[in-house]
């Protein structure tokens, strides 16, 4: 029975991860390329140069392809809430319902209206209104992403809600506090700026390909320069709000930060691991070394986490077993209070059913005293509070490593463009083409950090994934997993095929 439940949980996780990662192939390009197209068209309208119009229409075609293939890939995840994650979806329905509904309505009306003008209106709308529509598509796409990111931020750092034990639901107390929580703001800014970065790499990559093929050279160079400019600006924002995110994570999700750095033993002047080979066999509490090899920068993790070079950063062991000397309450202690919360919730439920008001009142009071650790009450061992450290560590370092590389590429493009020798830097065209794919790797790695790093929690500290899932047979989840795998792979192949064909055709002459 336990193995069956575990299997259902893991297949449900795998399915959600699969669909989320496929969805995230299409979305960042939509978010970022829409702004690049708006910039390109603005230059066209400003200069009146028809070659900029052709350039704009070319990238707009690729944008349309990506958008069309990506449409409705997100709705699949909402289906899964109802089928595979019914406990979770019921409990968060009051929190998630409004943001997801707004996202759908916002996206549909705003984008559908201005999309039509953007694609159909070249001959039928004035230059000014067409440009306005293009900007509205860009702004609308990005704003519609706000709401799902607000929902995700709430999962990571639940706030402004109260648990209703009669309805078994979290009830929203303040929409503004949820929508404008620091995590929601960081998530939105980091996600959108990284999307701009990815789109810039996409444009530079295809432009690099044109340069290598000695086709559409002027268009390619112009596209590269604009994309590199946006990419460089986006890189600054990514670095800034990435740092802010990490600071926030250090205080609200310290286990995630510890996993990101493979920090098992907390320390003052905690170092950042610039690169390393982590020991995948190591578990919390054992004596194995955390790394086989590592290159550390002393004090930098303390600076990142607490803005204090000398400060203490808790490690995984601190957070699992506690560290009274540092005032750290570990999962081991939280499990005690969490189990009280679970037990009192059960006693409350029984008392209410039997009409025993006095018992219900005392059970509710004890539940409320311990409810902040409710999720820990469902763990079997304190070690379960730690996420898969190796995966989180490598995903984080891949993301940061690539995020450090990309602005160097943008600067190189702008440097040679300024010197007037961009059209003779063949090595740089190859680099740009390669970075097209690396952009996607970095983008996916970021979400792996965010979502694997929060394990085992569906709602941080309140609901582990093992309790969030539906009691259905693992076989049904397996079936739909492979259906999705086949469907999304087919869609991805279709998109790549149509894109490649359109790139081969190039801009209209």
């Amino acid at each position: 029975m336990g193995n069956e439940i575990l299997s259902t949980v893991n297949w449900s996780r795998a399915q959600f991860a699969l669909t989320a990662m496929y969805h995230w192939i299409f979305v960042p390009l939509t978010l970022g390329l829409s702004f690049l197209i708006a910039f390109f068209e603005s230059i066209y309208v400003k200069t009146g140069d028809e070659s900029w119009k052709k350039l704009t229409k070319f990238w707009m075609t690729l944008f349309g392809i990506n958008f069309a293939i990506g449409v409705a890939t997100g709705i699949i995840m909402e289906f899964q809430f109802g089928t595979n994650w019914s406990n979770y979806s019921w409990m968060v329905g009051d929190i998630f319902g409004a943001p997801l509904a707004v996202e759908g309505i916002f996206a549909f009306f705003l984008e559908a209206t201005f999309f039509a003008v953007m694609f159909f209106g070249w001959q039928r709308a004035s230059k000014g209104f067409h440009l306005f529509s293009t900007w509205m598509v860009a702004i609308g796409s990005n704003l519609s992403a706000v709401w799902i990111l607000v929902a995700n931020a709430w999962m990571q750092t639940p706030t402004a809600m109260a648990f209703n034990p009669d309805k078994a639901r979290f009830e929203m107390q303040n929409f503004a506090d949820i929508a404008l929580s620091p995590n929601a703001v960081h998530k939105f800014t980091h996600t959108t700026s990284s999307a701009f970065l990815l789109a810039s790499l996409f444009v530079m990559g295809i432009s690099g390909l044109f340069m290598l093929q000695r086709r559409h050279l002027l268009m390619a160079q112009r596209s590269m320069v604009v994309a590199a400019t946006l990419g460089l600006v986006a890189s600054v924002f990514v670095a800034f709000n990435g740092d802010e995110s990490a600071f926030h994570i250090a205080h609200r999700q310290p286990m995630k930060l510890a996993a990101m750095e493979g920090l098992y033993t907390g320390q003052d002047k905690a170092p950042i691991v610039a690169m390393g080979v982590i020991n995948m066999s190591k578990k919390p509490g054992d004596d194995l070394p955390a790394f086989y090899q590592e290159v550390k920068v002393p004090g930098m993790l303390s600076l990142l986490a607490n803005r204090d070079f000398n400060s203490y950063v808790p490690g995984i062991n601190d957070l699992v077993y506690g560290n009274p000397a540092r005032g750290i309450v570990g999962a081991q202690q939280r499990m005690v209070t969490g189990k009280i919360a679970v037990a009192e919730l059960g006693r409350y439920k029984t008392a209410k059913l039997s009409g025993d008001a006095a018992t219900a009142a005392s059970a509710l009071a004890l539940f409320n005293q311990n409810k902040d650790d409710l999720g820990y009450g469902y763990l079997n061992t304190p070690e379960e509070a730690a996420p898969p450290v190796g995966l989180v560590f490598y995903a984080f370092h891949i993301m940061v490593g690539l995020g450090t590389l990309f602005p160097i590429i943008f600067l190189a493009v702008l440097f040679f463009a300024f010197k007037g020798t961009l059209d003779s830097q063949r090595w740089l065209w190859w680099v740009c083409f390669g970075c097209l794919f690396l952009g996607y790797v970095a983008s996916q790695a970021g979400w792996v950090v965010a979502e694997v790093g929060r394990q085992p929690w569906a709602i941080q500290g309140l609901l582990p994934v093992g309790v969030a899932t539906t009691n259905i047979a693992a076989s049904s989840v397996q079936t739909t997993f492979f259906i999705f795998l086949a469907l999304f792979t087919a869609l991805l192949i279709a998109e790549i095929g149509i894109m490649v064909k359109q790139v081969k055709i190039g801009p209209e002459e």
């Binding site: 069309a68 699949i76 109802g82 089928t83 709308a125 919730l345 439920k349």
Partner: protein, 112 residues
């Protein structure tokens, strides 16, 4: 948002109706003065805009076919046969649903 005035439909630009002095006319008011455009014509022009736009698509036709196929698979196949809402399907009222979830929250926990 201001639009350019449509004169004869051949130079097809979206428009809102204006008076003969060029002021925007309020919705619902039909302008009968020559040189202006009737508000009742606007829905027709919008329809023509979308119709002509869809008709002129080349690559767009392929993409729309893909979109239609994908939406059919997602909503008519996956949603109907594989992704029923568990709580909606198995319980009739919100009270039953919350009771079920509460049962799950208060029984022996499954390992994550």
């Amino acid at each position: 948002m201001l639009f350019n005035v449509l004169k004869d439909g051949t130079d097809a630009r979206l428009s809102l109706p204006t008076t003969d002095k060029g002021f925007l006319r309020a919705p619902g008011v039909v302008c009968s003065v020559s040189g202006g455009v009737s508000m009742t014509v606007l829905p027709r022009k919008l329809y023509a805009f979308y119709r002509d736009g869809f008709r002129s698509m080349v690559l767009g036709r392929t993409l729309w076919k893909l979109i239609a196929l994908k939406l059919f698979i997602i909503f008519a196949v996956l949603k109907l046969f594989f992704f029923s809402n568990f709580l909606e399907k198995n319980f009739r009222t919100d009270s039953e649903r919350s009771a079920h979830v509460l049962d799950n929250l208060t029984r022996t926990p499954a390992p994550p």
